[in-house]
Amino acid sequence: MSSHDNMPEMSLYQPVQVEDAIGIATELAGRGWLVGGGQDTYGWLKDRAKTADALIDLKGIESMRGIKETADGIEIGALVTLTEITRDPIIKERYSLLAQAAGRVASPQIRNVGTLAGNVSQDVRCWYYRRGLNCYRAGGNLCYADTPEGMNREHAIFNASRCVAVTPSDTGPALVALEAQMVIQNASGQRVVPAEDFFIGPNLDIRHTTILRPGDILTAVRIPAKWANATFYFEKVADRNAWDFALVSISAAMRVNNGVIEDSRIMVGAVQATPRRLTSVEQAIRGKPRNESTANSLGNLASSDANPLNYNHFKMPLMDNLVKRAVRGQA
């Protein structure tokens, strides 16, 4: 398939009210394409790997901007950029896990325009799929990555179902760890969904990575006070420190009292199609001191039920080691 320098011809809507955007998105249905920062959009279109009749640029919608305090935490507008998140004083002070995750996305220029909503809604990075091949996720009946010669070093070690792609989002696992709520609007109104249920795997729907459907707009993300000022640990391992997606990332929120872990949410990114919650680890460390000995006692608990492909066994010890670092509290 050849590569193209130019964007394909298409229409562009630039609504300034969320109701208008919903109206346009509902009318266009599958032929419309929502654009925030656009950094996961233009590659698809330039490559002609996906098409749309019209782009719906949401950046003019003021109500989807800004970070504000609420009765129970904060609400982050869907259009808030990743750079804004890394610099926001409240997020840095109370929810530094999210600030750290946002600060490790892609590159400075991409963080300057890339939005929080876009980071959690972006499509998977499997190169076979991005190249426009007619794989399961594209509607076909074959996975090119899960074949004897398929290159699957970056792919899933858990919960693959025909498709073996992983979630590329750095902020997604952090938001699930913080028990964030996703605010979604469509023509019939607004619904609020826990971040944990926002992401969906190929076993539920192989064509989508989130519950968003044409006509839905993710307008805001709410973070409850529950984990404010908790003890956090974030680390992303990637081939390069800029641009590259995670090989494995860890986002941990812990309540530590007198050195003892009372409660925790341990999330891992890039090991399956959705952020993976390690409930077995959470249970194992509950009531234990946050130290090296507790970390070491976990062994390979996190990866013990993994199902690696030909080239990604390395993700198992990598994940186990990141879990240990999070639990002992140092790299």
Partner: protein, 141 residues
């Protein structure tokens, strides 16, 4: 000038306005050669629609020189430090450095390294560019 709905800023700059100082490397937001400023923030012109920035002040490398031809301090410092090798990434490196120094006039070398991390240099002249940034910020003489 007519701008098509789907037209990228890099396309408008280079092929409609003739401002070819902004380079196109990968055209996918993966190299940084097309970096320009929009309201003093560095962005990839290849991954921005022109209509997205129609209400913003866009500055390219052509807009840095003073009216009398004096180079921008970043440009002068890059020459002094022999920062460019082949030069293809230089315009983008300059724009990222200008954005950094507007937001943070005296960055540490580590802050500068992070701020410049969205610009690839195939010649590998990264440390030379970093020296240039530190010189432009008055911390290297």
């Amino acid at each position: 000038m007519d701008v098509a709905p789907q037209e990228t800023l890099a396309h408008t700059l280079r092929y409609k306005l003739g401002l070819t100082g902004t380079k196109l490397g990968c055209n996918r937001g993966e190299c940084g050669a097309c970096t320009v400023l929009a309201d003093d923030v560095n962005i990839y012109a290849c991954s921005t629609l022109t209509h997205e920035v129609k209400n913003r002040a866009v500055v390219t490398v052509e807009g840095l020189r003073a009216a009398d031809g004096t180079l921008h301090p970043v440009q002068a410092a890059f020459i002094e430090e022999l920062s460019p090798a082949c030069g293809f990434c230089t315009a983008g490196q300059v724009m990222s450095a200008v954005a950094l120094l507007k937001a943070n006039p005296r960055p540490t070398r580590e802050e500068a390294r992070l701020a410049m991390s969205g610009n690839v240099c195939r010649c590998g002249a990264y440390d030379h560019y970093l020296n240039g940034v530190m010189r432009a910020s008055g911390q290297l003489s």
